[in-house]
């Protein structure tokens, strides 16, 4: 391990060290309020150590690839981690909870910078294992235990699938390093995209589909969200989703020729996921269950971005810049994360340590009884629904504009079997997505309508404390700020997207030589 690697891993090292320190100190010390201070400090320190000024090349053999994609995703990870720590900031937050949370954030930060199958897998496990602990720590009733167990077993199953898929990929590519895999897969493409790689594709998509809660790997999400606390639900709907999307991007972009098979898989998953998520959410009365289906639906939108990115990697041009697909995914992940955490923070604030808000009906009349949490929830709901001028709208804009902008290049053959129908396919995808957005508005509006148009049934306790209050306020401000000045984030994600697609194209050069 060279000093370079150490330097690149500063954020993760800081986070893991802090987390271990908190675990150990927790066994001896009682000062409970201080753990969150420590965690927040560690996150700030990690942010300082995050060298964003000069994204360096792949550290060959080290398994790290701190490219622009990694830098953007790491910033997102640290910001999301900070919001989650703030959300968990209570007087009785235990050291175990804070430590495990930091570990999960470190895992996310690690996974988005990995370009090696082993490191990718380890990073994903570093997110999953602390999550099991977190799920168990925050709620001890029967429902909580059911949720924890369900998540534990299914997550293990997904990990097994992922490993199995990775082993096939190793077989095809002859290496665990993504760059070498790209070369290996390109070499094996002589007689068409190999069947072994297809098996790898299916297994990897299934496993990561679990992480991002894509249909049909979503069944755990509603039960687990319902059976856990708001803080945990926020974590579950954000961390694995960011990790899953980035890993999907990395692995699929490192498989030249995968577009033929992956494109159709992605599109089918996207359509089914957003439709099922949105339609099922219409009937939910439990607010966490509703947001679980909403989070499923958003995975569907994100998969549209993945389809666009795959088309770009396959050689189709995009009028908005070839990186629009990747850019849309990153931008959407960020605005989705902020709005979702904001919503869960508001709900956490409204509850009390003894009893949390469960039903949508409990929010009745919130506009009168608790005006500020109601405003925050409304802002987050409208943003998730994608109504301008809130951040979510720009997320939808980049996703759907990207889908409409795909054009097969006529001059040099792309080699996609769907050349003739590529554009039509994306137009249909965009139309289905937009109609889904209209359906989704129905249940988001239901929450808003309940808060503002119904008579209060009683005043919610609102004993969540300062942590959730600060989190929800911060999230609302961020949603509005990105809504009015989307360029702040969008320009960066666009650069990242372009760089990522360029790198993927560079990795593919052997493939063209072979042809």
């Amino acid at each position: 391990m060279t000093t370079d690697t150490v330097k690149l891993l500063t954020p993760e090292i800081v986070l893991v060290t802090a987390s271990v320190a908190i675990f150990v100190a927790g066994a001896f010390l009682q000062g409970r309020a201080t753990w969150c201070f420590g965690a927040a400090g560690a996150l700030l320190l990690a942010a300082l150590g995050l060298d964003n000024s000069s994204p360096c090349e792949v550290v060959s053999g080290g398994g790290l690839s701190i490219d622009k994609l990694a830098v953007f995703a790491r910033w997102t990870a640290l910001a999301v981690g900070m919001l989650l720590v703030l959300l968990a900031w209570r007087r009785n937050t235990t050291s175990e909870y804070v430590g495990a949370l930091l570990l999960a954030v470190a895992g996310l930060s690690l996974v988005v910078g990995s370009s090696d199958l082993v490191l990718l897998f380890l990073g994903l496990e570093l997110i999953s294992i602390p999550t099991y602990i977190l799920l168990y720590l925050d709620r001890h009733d029967a429902a909580g235990q059911e949720a924890t167990l369900k998540y534990f077993f299914l997550s293990l199953l997904a990990s097994a699938f992922l490993l199995y898929g990775f082993s096939f990929l190793y077989g095809v590519g002859g290496s665990t390093d993504l760059r070498l895999i790209a070369a290996g897969v390109a070499e094996s493409n002589a007689g068409g995209f190999s069947d072994l790689a297809k098996i790898a594709l299916v297994l990897i998509v299934a496993a990561l589909g679990f992480k991002i809660s894509a249909v049909p790997f979503h069944f755990y999400a509603p039960d687990v969200y319902q059976g856990t606390s708001h803080a945990n639900a926020a974590l579950l709907s954000v961390l694995p989703k960011i990790a899953g999307m980035v890993v999907l991007l990395r692995v699929l972009l490192a498989m030249p020729g995968v577009e033929h098979a992956a494109w159709i898989v992605t599109v089918a998953l996207a359509v089914v996921t957003m439709t099922v998520g949105n339609v099922m959410a219409l009937w939910q009365n439990n607010i966490r269950r509703l947001l679980a289906y909403s989070s499923i639906a958003h995975a569907g939108y994100l998969l549209i971005g993945l389809a666009v990115a795959l088309a770009a990697a396959g050689g189709a041009t995009n009028r908005w810049g070839n990186g629009i697909g990747v850019s849309a995914i990153l931008f959407y992940l960020a605005v989705y994360a902020v709005a979702t955490i904001g919503a869960f923070a508001a709900l956490a604030y409204l509850g009390s340590p003894k009893r949390q808000v469960d039903g949508v009906d409990e929010l009745a009349g919130l506009g009168r009884t608790r005006p500020w949490p109601a405003v925050v929830l409304a802002v987050c709901m409208f943003s998730l629904a994608g109504i301008p001028p809130l951040a979510g709208f720009w997320g939808k804009l980049t996703l759907f504009a990207g889908a409409l902008g795909v054009q097969p290049t006529p001059d040099h053959s792309v080699g996609l079997w769907l050349d003739g129908h590529l554009q039509a396919g994306f137009v249909v995808l965009a139309v289905v997505g937009m109609l889904n957005a209209a359906v989704a508005a129905a249940y988001y509006l239901r929450v808003v309508a309940t808060m503002y148009f119904r008579a209060p049934l009683g005043t919610p306790k609102a004993e969540g404390g300062a942590g959730p209050w600060v989190t929800m306020t911060l999230c609302a401000v961020l949603v509005l700020a990105v809504g009015f000045l989307p360029g702040l984030l969008l320009d960066r994600s666009n650069q990242t997207g372009d760089a990522t697609i360029e790198q993927a194209a560079a990795w593919r050069i052997p493939a063209q030589d072979d042809e």
């Binding site: 109504i387 001028p389 137009v427 139309v431 937009m434 666009n494």
Partner: protein, 548 residues
């Protein structure tokens, strides 16, 4: 003149912030500051209108154009670009005028959380003003969608019994259409980026219009984009049979909500057709023209017949809106300079007369707490001033010569008849003639249901709901209420007497749009069943051909 327009759009936003900040100071301060904001905005609008260069299509001096995001060198360059032109000028003025009315008529009616109410109303004003002056397609859509949020709260919080259902239905109906409109607008931008001479991607509406005139979109693609835009705009208008959300929203909304809904928000639909569909998709417009005209005529007759059968005053006027907006669509889609001028003028007229009528209904409701026609009668004895306003607005609504409604309806019917008898619309000629004649029938029906309403409610024997002991008889209009309606009456008469003043400022731009659309119609008159076969052929052939 540099930033007057910008100030006029942002002022209500600022006012909304002030009103919310003043929430603790009580109703008086709140409503006075809301009134001051709307008056100041109106003053700025008057300044802008008075400076408008007559005979020009655009008001270049009012333009504000700064990069919003994406940057000029990137592929996406979204700009905050606003300016007035002939089409938007009067809609802009109408919005500023009606907002003053809205604040005044809510003066006593709104007792529940007035700061929130006026703040939301002012927020809505910024949204509506922005829709009409946006020069960037993305900015237009942002304002277009944003208007939904404040109106959703206005209906849902301050509406009548069924307000929750009405607010949600209104929001979802409009959103369902406008999501497709969004894709259609993006498709226009993309097509232009591929096919324009320099291949630069632009979101600017004037640039797109000019560029698409040189490189028209492939007709079959135009048709699909037209349908996508149609989904949003037709629901907003609302064109029969997409109108079902409208009566519900109107009846349940608070008076101010009904006034802006009828006065301004419905016009965003017709405005969208004139701004985007006609100039950017002329071939599809020509191909779909007879279909749209049939829907417009159906709306005229259907709205009128249903209005005749209503027992609730507000509901009656809501259905009359369906009928009147049918007239606007008829004028616009006659694709004839006269008809187009009439249609756009009728948009303003309808805003004045129906907006005013909803205000009168609100005043009646404040006095009697009923809107049932059967509960009321002979109110002219009790409320002579109110009866006067009602009568003038009614006469304006049914198109009495000398008042504004006549100028608009006459022009648009003239345009329609010209199109049906002297234009060359091919196979459809007999349809167009039937549509013209049928829509004239709508004028007669309009006079019938409106005059019936006035006769039943205001004339004959005095009939009022029974008052509790000691409750004083309702008083006639107060000075505040007169101040709310009098400006509308001024314009009702002014447009009626001197329509040239208004038409001169809009005609240069509208004539350009109408002539271009008429040209496509002449080149390729729609034939029965042709539009769809065309599209199918192209779809079967796969990729549409490119210029270069």
């Amino acid at each position: 003149m540099d930033n007057v327009l910008l100030a006029a759009v942002l002022l209500p936003l600022l006012g909304a912030g002030c009103v919310w900040a003043l929430a603790e100071t009580g109703r008086k301060v709140v409503r006075i500051s809301a009134l001051a904001t709307t008056l100041l905005t109106l003053a700025l609008a008057v300044v802008l209108i008075s400076q408008y260069p007559v005979g020009e299509a655009e008001f270049a001096a009012s333009e504000t154009n700064v990069s919003w995001f994406g940057g000029e060198d990137g592929p996406i360059d979204v700009r905050f670009s606003i300016a007035l032109d002939g089409l938007s000028l009067w809609m802009f003025g109408l919005t500023a005028l009606l907002m003053v009315t809205c604040v005044l008529i809510s003066w006593e009616a709104i007792t529940d959380r007035p700061a929130a109410f006026y703040g939301t109303l002012l927020l809505l004003e910024t949204g509506m003003l922005g829709v009409f002056i946006a020069r960037d397609i993305i900015l237009f859509y942002v304002f277009f969608e944003f208007t939904l949020i404040p109106l959703f709260f206005l209906i849902g919080i301050w509406g009548s019994e069924q307000r929750r259902y009405a607010a949600v239905k209104f929001f979802l109906f409009t959103l369902a259409g406008s999501v497709l409109t969004f894709l259609g607008l993006l498709a226009i931008v993309l097509w232009n980026a591929y096919h324009s001479a320099d291949g630069v991607m632009t979101f600017s509406i004037p640039e797109l219009t000019a560029s698409l005139r040189l490189h028209p979109i492939d007709p079959a693609v135009q048709l699909w984009i037209f349908l996508a835009l149609f989904a949003g705009f037709a629901i907003k208008v609302p064109l029969f049979p997409f109108h079902t959300w409208l009566p519900l929203a109107h009846v349940q909304a608070p008076t101010a909500g009904s006034v802006v809904l009828a006065g301004v928000l419905l016009k965003i639909g017709t405005y969208g057709f004139v701004r985007f569909s006609l100039p950017m998709l002329p071939d599809a417009t020509a191909a779909c023209m007879p279909w749209v005209l049939w829907l417009a005529a159906a709306g005229i007759i259907y709205g009128a017949l249903v209005a005749l059968a209503q027992s609730d005053i507000k509901r009656l006027i809501a259905y009359s809106s369906v009928s009147h907006l049918g007239f606007c669509m008829l004028g616009i889609f006659s694709l004839n300079p006269l008809g187009m001028q009439g249609g756009v003028l009728q948009m303003v007229n309808h805003g004045l007369s129906t907006g005013g009528l909803f205000a009168v209904v609100g005043m009646i409701y404040e006095r009697y707490h009923t809107r049932k026609i059967a509960d009321l009668g002979g109110l002219a004895h009790r409320l002579p001033l109110l009866a006067f306003f009602m009568l003038v607005l009614t006469l304006s609504s049914i198109g009495l010569p000398g008042l504004n409604g006549f100028a608009g309806e006459f022009l648009l019917l003239l345009g329609m008849f010209q199109r049906a008898w002297t234009g060359v619309p091919g196979d459809w000629v007999i349809h167009l003639r039937i549509i013209s004649v049928v829509s004239v029938l709508g004028v007669v029906l309009g006079a019938w249901y409106m005059l019936r309403l006035v006769r039943l409610v205001f004339f004959g024997e005095l009939r009022e709901p029974i008052r509790a002991d000691g409750e004083p008889a309702p008083r006639d209009m107060s000075l505040r209420e007169v101040a709310a309606l009098a400006p509308l009456l001024v314009f009702v008469v002014w447009i009626g007497v001197q329509p040239r003043f208004f038409l001169d400022r809009m005609s240069p731009q509208l004539d350009g749009i109408a002539t271009q659309a008429a040209k496509s119609l002449d080149q390729k008159p729609p034939e029965l069943g042709e539009a769809l076969t065309d599209a199918n052929e192209v779809a079967a052939a796969g990729e549409p051909t490119r210029d270069h």
